[in-house]
Amino acid sequence: MFDTLNPCTIPPEDEALRPHIRALAAETVARLPAETRARSWSGLDIEFSHRLGREGFLGLTLPKEYGGAGRGPFARFVVVEELLAVGAPVAAHWIADRQSAPLILNYGTEAQRKLFLPKIASGEIFFCIGMSEPNSGSDLASVRTRAEKISTGWVLNGQKIWTTNALHADYMIALIRTSGTVNERQAGLSQLLVPLKAKGVTVRPITDLTGASEFAEVFFDNVKLDEDALVGKEGQGWDQATAELAFERSGPERIYSSLVLIDTWVQHLRRVGRIIGPAAQLAGEFTGKLMVLRAMSLAVTGQLAAGESPVIEASLIKDLGTSYEQEVPALIAEDIGSHPDEEVSVEFYRTLNFMSRIAPSFSLRGGTREILRGIIARGLGLR
């Protein structure tokens, strides 16, 4: 079962990207405290995203004719890995680069590709994805937000919620009901491109438990969209959206969200000289698991590079990876709390507590743990 996954190495031409992106990331994070870098792919710096676009690090897997680099998934793995390892702020372009661009490339019209892809690759436009609604979370097929067809295109009414990056995005690719009723579930859902500056769109930030506003509510009140707002086929939105979810489940970002915290803790241990015994054991658990999980993510990247679609494997990795990310703050808190006489810096304390608070979200975003395990069970032939 799942025995086609094998360790694979990064091709030298992709590995060659590392020094440049590493230097760029180091320069950018030099002035950021650990608690800011710990935001990982939620950390925002619009100017840095523009710069990555200018220097050719976005749209790496897009064909050259659309402004991309025409490279494979391993190139993107190297770049993403280096950015995440030090907590460079990638949120602004993250969704556009990871999901929206491949979606438009796969399902969009030639006109959509020419219009959007070069600007995504250059870091000029940002995207968000409209999935969840107030009554539609894990049960995504129950979306109610509706687009009616009119002579010039569509009229959109409804609401999305928990939309990451909506505050800074130029466009939303939204899963919308274009026909039928909620009872018809997946049938009748389509993906529509919504310019967030359009008349009738209201974006309202939601403050999270860390005080940040990374996600938002988005309201649509008679928003008029052109005919070419449709991405892919009408009624195929569910299949398109779930294929997209599969690709976002196996990347290094599902393993690396707590790396900045681990390294902040490692620096603390080195500073206080507690480098053997139980602390070393915990550091070894983090490091050994990281080595194996990274190999697993690389193995899936190899399958994607070979044109395969390892959907179940991606779900397995996401559950394993996010469990790893979530156990890190709890175990580091236990370690630090077991040494109350040890001096802990304010920066480290703030980083640890930021991570403890935000870590529950790691197994919610992109499909909850319980939903993923259901997908795995189906893969095992149990459902």
Partner: protein, 324 residues
């Protein structure tokens, strides 16, 4: 294609050499001669030996699926260890002795040690080939297990000393044990899923219950994790590096409690019975977790190297020491 044929032939040979009834007899005090003769004459014990020394010259990575199969098929002798020992000995121009060879640490408990005639054993900073006799062999006396430890009142009688270090010997043993765990975890997953699909309670197969499905998903994850850990260790080559072996064995060992707990929970009482095959796997999994350094040993070693080293980030340390 060639490798698939190799694996298919290997499985056929194992099924012939050690069917379940033979495995059960060997676990309960029979000798290994019948099974070992078939295995030995098949040539598979020399797959890791270089071609110029008369072996198949397979890389450890290429041999990984076969080593895992030794676990999955419950072969009741230290066959993977013998494969490795033959490779390590012939690399140094030493003719390996016939029969099973252990990779051993001083005082450590080794599965199936009772059946071995020789051991590569770490003793006073050196790796030595020794002959095992009853004065140094101390069987653990567990039901259904042939585990024993090697105890020396004084220096063992050394046949020959090797150039490899005790650390390399232990790393080699750990990677093989990780692969054995991975093979057994995969077999336990298949058994447990099949059982959940057959066993009817409340009018339907228990595998239709979400509570069971969630548990089996965790079992599948742990089996995959153990296998990737083993493959990573094997990708480090022959002999493997300490860091890759540490990651492989710590992750594979850590999977054992989850794999065995879930498998037994899904099977219910039948899994506790001697007659049912699940216990053949879970008994061995507990011992394999402990053998050649358990999770805590390797984690402490790996972490101490990271903390004492100068890597700027944990990912840098991982990339510098990982074979991939």
């Amino acid at each position: 294609m060639v490798e698939n044929d190799l694996l298919t032939n290997f499985i056929k040979m194992l099924e012939c050499a050690a069917p379940l009834e033979v495995i059960r007899k060997i676990e309960n005090d029979d000798d290994i001669d019948y099974s070992w003769n078939i295995f030995d004459s098949s040539g598979f014990l020399d797959i890791l030996v270089a071609e110029k020394a008369g072996g198949a010259g397979l890389s450890l990575a290429a041999a990984a699926p076969l080593i895992e199969e030794l676990g999955a098929q419950l072969f009741p002798a230290p066959a993977a260890q013998t494969m490795m020992a033959r490779a390590l000995l012939t690399r140094e121009g030493i003719e390996p002795p016939s029969g099973p060879i252990l990779l051993a640490g001083y005082n450590a408990v080794i599965p199936f040690a009772e059946l071995a005639g020789h051991a590569l054993v770490a003793w006073q900073d050196k790796v030595n080939l020794i002959k095992i006799n009853t004065t140094i062999l101390r069987p653990m006396g567990l039901y259904g297990s042939r585990s024993a430890k090697l105890e020396f009142a004084s220096a063992p009688e050394v046949l020959v000393s090797l150039l490899i270090t005790p650390e390399t010997l232990r790393a080699s043993a750990a990677v093989l044990r990780a692969a054995e765990i991975a093979g057994m975890a995969g077999a336990v997953l298949r058994m447990t899923v099949a059982y959940a699909n057959e066993r009817i309670q409340f009018g339907k197969p228990i595998g239709k219950q979400q509570a069971i499905q969630q548990q089996l998903a965790i079992l599948a994850e742990q089996a995959l994790l153990a296998r990737m850990a083993a493959r990573l260790g094997c990708a480090a080559g022959l002999p493997p590096t300490t860091e890759a072996a540490a990651a492989a064995k710590l992750v594979a060992s850590a999977s054992v409690p989850l794999v065995t707990n879930i498998a037994h929970a899904v099977h219910g009482a039948i899994g506790i019975s001697e007659e049912y095959n699940l216990q053949l796997f879970t008994r061995r999994l507990y011992e394999a977790r402990l053998a050649d350094g358990a999770d805590g040993y390797w984690a402490t070693l790996l972490g101490a190297r990271h903390l004492a080293g100068g890597a700027a980030t944990s990912l840098d340390f991982v990339r510098a020491t990982s074979p991939v």
